[in-house]
Subunit: 209 residues, 2 copies
């Protein structure tokens, strides 16, 4: 799908407003206003508000799909390093696309049967298979434990990252970081989160229970 500048503008604004106020909380008029287009253009281009949400998801999900396919091709890396690289890819993506991931957090618990949710599930399945294959390699090499719960491991990675990203204003307050400049805070977030998840994964994958 190729979009004009105006369509992209609508998609970007919608993504932000949906993330900030929720799908039902952001009106098409608000979106049109912020995107500097007439209200009717949203129906004209995307059909409906619901379809706008779907289009928005398709855009990001295909972006993610490309990233997944290009991830961890380097066979020179050890299984553990592959996992580490995957963690960094994940964090980078989630921090860089915060608005979208807030949307995901909400929509995956609301519209359980919608096309939007189907896309999320498909993407998770792909991700899970990728991780599972890496872990199997590690187990065959004797580097990893044999009983690893991959879905739970993913849940911790995604859950921890989501929690930190969606409630970063609370995290700032709990750590007295209100005065830290936004950009530096974001970089700190990535670094801390990355190190934290790697420690956890190392424990899950290698230490005996």
């Amino acid at each position: 799908m190729e979009y004009s500048d105006k369509q992209l503008q609508i998609l970007d604004v919608a993504e932000r407003l949906f993330a900030e106020h929720g799908f039902d909380g952001a009106s098409v008029r608000d979106i049109a206003k912020d995107a500097d287009v007439n209200v009717a253009m949203i129906s004209y281009y995307f059909g409906s508000k619901e379809k706008l949400l779907e289009a928005l998801f398709i855009r990001r999900v295909s972006e993610i799909r490309l990233q997944i396919e290009n991830t961890v091709q380097n066979n020179a890396l050890s299984p553990m390093d592959k996992i580490y690289q995957l963690v960094d890819t994940y964090i980078e993506r989630m921090v860089n696309r915060q608005h979208f991931h807030k949307l995901v957090v909400r929509e995956q618990m609301l519209r359980k049967e919608s096309p939007v949710c189907m896309q999320i599930i498909e993407t998770k399945k792909k991700n899970q298979e990728l991780i599972r294959s890496i872990i199997k390699d590690g187990q065959n090499q004797g580097a990893f434990k044999n009983d690893v719960d991959v879905p739970l491991m993913m849940t911790t990675m995604i859950g921890t990252a989501n929690q930190l990203i969606t409630t970063q204003h609370i995290y700032r307050e709990l750590n007295n970081l209100q005065d830290m400049p936004e950009e530096i805070f974001q970089e700190n977030l990535k670094k801390k989160l990355s190190q934290h998840l790697k420690t956890i994964f190392k424990a899950i994958l290698t230490y005996e229970a």
Copy 2:
């Protein structure tokens, strides 16, 4: 605050519908219908939809506050066992009050400056202080590492639990558990989650990085 049966009915239905469709997605008419009361009764009792949400939060937050104060009083337990007990308390609460915790997940990222969010932050601060004191004990006894990031640790606990609870239908599908009876699945959820988080916490608190 003491509520009549009818008021409690409204609060329960509102909690469920807010969790299922979001605050803006659930109308006062839907709530009134499901709670078997006239629409006007909601304004009559609670003042407004927004105030209804606040009342709902106050009810659960005070419930949680009581739980926190009664937690980990047993000084015979080792620091690690205290942490373990805290994890179980947390999971038990979140699984038993799923609707409310879905609400928390959403509202803590939307209404950043609202009274509702203030309550969440206050509760988190209390929780954090409790955990911090336990960890300090463990460090003084030489049982725990000295560099423990308590907020990040909490983020992983809450984030993992939230992620698993709010997307349990996806978790079921990823693990081919669609046919497992609901009740058994919920029990499994608690057990798995408990064991998983304890493993992680043990690693974070004791193994050297």
